[in-house]
């Protein structure tokens, strides 16, 4: 029997309200999937940061562009995709917010937080040509975690996907 994977996809406007909407939607899914309060917080925050990234850096706050949010719920994990319609970026080019010279920067911590809060994180090229953030969190009781892609990923690779 093939394990069931649930898939949800939504297209969001490039506006601040989409950040709250995406967070709220994924929080509900995470709660329904059985994640505890702390993990829901981390998932919600990561979705929020992913959509902020798409809104601000990817789509440059241009209202004619869209943000594409998708969630796959497999028997093992919750996988979240956030794609923008910008020009893409490489993880290796993102400055380290923990570096002494960046500590007083007023931006640039979103990617760091997503990496810290999720089990797997990567950025790939989206079908739209922009960047697609792919991140996942193992479901409670789904077994031991796989190797974490945090900090080693780059454009063109993605977290292991379930069949």
């Amino acid at each position: 029997m093939v394990p069931e994977t649930k898939h949800l996809e939504v297209t969001l406007e490039t506006q601040v309200e989409s950040v709250n909407l995406a967070e709220e939607m994924c929080l509900r899914l995470a709660e329904a999937a059985g994640f505890g309060e702390d993990e829901c917080y981390r998932i919600g925050m990561s979705v929020r940061e992913g959509v902020i990234n798409a809104f601000h850096y990817g789509n440059k706050e241009k209202p004619e562009k869209k943000i594409h949010l998708a969630v796959d719920l497999t028997p093992e994990k919750m996988i979240i995709h956030v794609a923008d319609e910008g020009s893409g970026f490489f993880l290796k080019d993102v400055p380290d917010p923990l570096a002494e010279e960046n500590l007083l920067s007023t931006s640039g911590r979103g990617i760091f937080l997503m990496r810290a809060f999720m089990d797997e994180f990567d950025v790939v090229k989206a079908q739209t040509g922009g960047a697609e953030i792919v991140m996942s969190k193992r479901l409670p009781g789904a077994g031991s975690p796989q190797a974490n892609g945090n900090g080693t990923g780059g454009h063109g690779s993605s977290p292991r996907r379930e069949a």
Partner: protein, 114 residues
């Protein structure tokens, strides 16, 4: 939940009681406006009471850093009071504990100003 900020004077120190979320949009903008106004009015010794703030995103963190540098540029100081666990953890993993002075009781925060 919107961010509410209520400044009050404690001698030469201004304590700003915050409640709600400091996030992209109104929350961050409200914090920026309040701190700028205080700085313009030469209230440059500020304690930001975050007891009722249980959520800050990267935009809110950026706004806290911006407030810190704005106050410092006028020769003042911005200190943080009563962090909730989530905010505490957030400042810890972003290494901002090495930047901000953080207090768990108000008299100590107020007494720390020179």
């Amino acid at each position: 939940m919107a961010l509410h900020l209520t400044p009050r004077d404690s001698g030469s120190i201004t304590v700003v009681d915050a409640s709600g979320r400091i996030t992209l949009g109104d929350g961050s903008a409200n914090l920026r406006k309040t701190i700028r106004q205080l700085v313009e009015e030469s209230h440059c010794k500020i304690v930001l009471n975050l007891a009722d703030v249980d959520y800050i995103d990267s935009s809110g963190i950026g706004e806290l850093v911006s407030a810190y540098t704005a106050v410092r540029s006028k020769g003042g100081e911005l200190k943080l009071l009563h962090l909730t666990k989530k905010v505490h953890d957030l400042l810890q993993i972003t290494k901002l504990f090495t930047v901000f002075e953080v207090f768990s009781d108000e008299p100590s925060a107020i007494g720390s100003f020179r």
